[in-house]
Symmetry: C2
Subunit: 285 residues, 2 copies
DNA sequence: CTCGGCCATGCCGTGAGACTATCGCCGATT
DNA sequence: AATCGGCGATAGTCTCACGGCATGGCCGAG
């Protein structure tokens, strides 16, 4: 059939990311000619040209774009399979939950308490993940469950249960022109400078100015205090609010959901039991 | 990192499916000792035992279950990457739509007509897929879009737009005890013998008797005429009804949706344009 | 007790893929 | 305009990982 070894995929992804055979070879700890040959083999096997090479530059051909994208998926699936197989061996004693610091809408302690009352409780290891890679942790098996935000996180390959639905608020410096309102609208914010959230696709109006790149709410708040930007955040992230900032509800912003997510094909009781406890605790709160 | 070559995965999947090294080796066209060694390498690399071997039998260890499942996913992802890369090369002139014969709720001709009016029309190739593998066709790139039924088909990895929502009807022999009703309920059907749909997880009441295994509606209808079973089908599959059968609405059955599905990460205009035409045509019907 | 089915082991041969050295192209520098 | 240097491709050699063959060991069936 369509043979394509994971090694070759890794090679190609490295080249496609670096757009430079030398650097990619170094990253892969192989020599550059080997990499050149491997990519050419790949191209002839697939029967398409993946890269446009000049002697100065390397660029992705259309088929290369496709392979970069789908190849990454495939590599993730392979390493997820490996990781999950390893874990399946030692019957798991700990449940690994990945969260973003401060982003639990104060629900986590209730969830953990509810889970502790379950009959088959296991120790819960809490991992901290960055803005973008918590979903990855679950997909590749480094964690069992994650707290994520819909519609911000990429839920591909994950199932989830909603824990809370909350409105979103604009975070403003006190002297901002909109700070005197009791609430604002997206239209009011359309001309504002909004931060670019690292790893999150741009969701603001296309005409809005893109401000500083930030990775988390703490950085965003800092930038707002400096007057460089304003931000729209789920309400729970706005409390307690920094004394030098104010927040106003954004009447028409899509709601944001805090969800508990797990790998789509994870049927372990360990996980099901935690989900049940979490949904229960969140419903009660 | 977690190296695991696709070749090894294929070997393992073959053994796990056959539960027999000799047959698996034959299927892979390699000799049996090579396969034995490959699997042991895999086990030592992963550090877990995948198979329980006696000299008579081979059985899956828990980690083996995990690897069989996730490994299949990974292999699918890899061959999908290969397939889609090949397709990306030659800019595609045909749109490939996979349907199940007779399962288009009479919408297809309208959809094709609407699509033909689009500015960037391409030729549409219609493929026929079995009950269970139409979604697979889309996932691995053999087709671009599929007509599927929610909640029966497995939508993993696919996005979809709903074309119609329809009630479901019980198909009965005319002399059936329920045939005199004008409508029936799921409770009425709880004790009936229902067919097992090949490749579809059992959705009937757990106490219902499981009847003959069938692969499509035509087979199911035949079995109903023989008095072996009764079935619950989306209404559109019941028209025109065979003269020797009757159908009655099932008042409380979950509705069934005919959807147009495509690969989650397919952003090609070719596909978007067809989706738009189909949704438009279905809304108009 | 023997036979036969089945997986494991040992040994050997081969070829895919890695390495080193080197070439050829082309843009940049002076 | 000539040279240099960066980068990818090519050539030739080597090696070791993986596959094949022969065989051993285990165990259930008859």
């Amino acid at each position: 059939m369509a043979e394509l070894e994971t090694r070759e995929l890794e090679y190609f992804v490295a080249v496609a990311e670096e757009l430079h055979f030398g650097r990619a070879a170094a990253r892969l700890s192989i020599a550059q000619p080997a990499l050149s040959k491997a990519i050419r083999r790949l191209e002839s096997r697939l029967g398409v040209s993946l890269l446009e090479r000049s002697s100065r530059h390397v660029a992705l051909a259309p088929a290369g774009e496709a392979l970069l994208h789908h190849g990454r998926n495939a590599l993730n699936a392979v390493s997820a399979a490996a990781e999950k197989t390893r874990r399946a061996g030692d019957q798991q004693t700990h449940l690994r939950l990945v969260i973003k610091p401060g982003s639990d809408a104060n629900l986590l302690s209730g969830i953990l308490a509810a889970y502790a009352r379950q009959p088959d409780t296991r120790q819960v290891d809490i991992l901290f993940g960055g803005a973008t890679d918590r979903a990855e942790h679950v997909r590749d098996g480094r964690a069992d469950v994650a707290l994520l935000y819909v519609p911000f996180d990429d839920m591909t390959g994950l199932d989830h249960e909603t824990l809370t639905v909350e409105g979103r608020v604009a975070i403003l410096p006190p002297d901002h022109r909109l700070a005197s309102r009791t609430q604002v609208t997206l239209a009011d914010l359309a001309r504002e400078t909004l931060p670019r959230w690292k790893g999150v696709r741009w969701t603001g109006a296309p005409e809005a100015r893109q401000g500083p790149e930030v990775t988390d709410a703490a950085e965003a708040l800092h930038m707002i205090r400096l007057g460089r930007t304003v931000a729209i955040l789920p309400r729970s992230l706005a409390e307690p609010m920094h004394p030098d900032l104010v927040y106003r509800p954004v009447a028409d912003a899509p709601h944001s959901e805090l969800v508990l997510a797990w790998s789509q094909d994870d049927r372990r009781r360990l996980v099901a039991s935690f989900i049940a406890a979490a949904v229960d605790a969140a419903g009660r709160a």
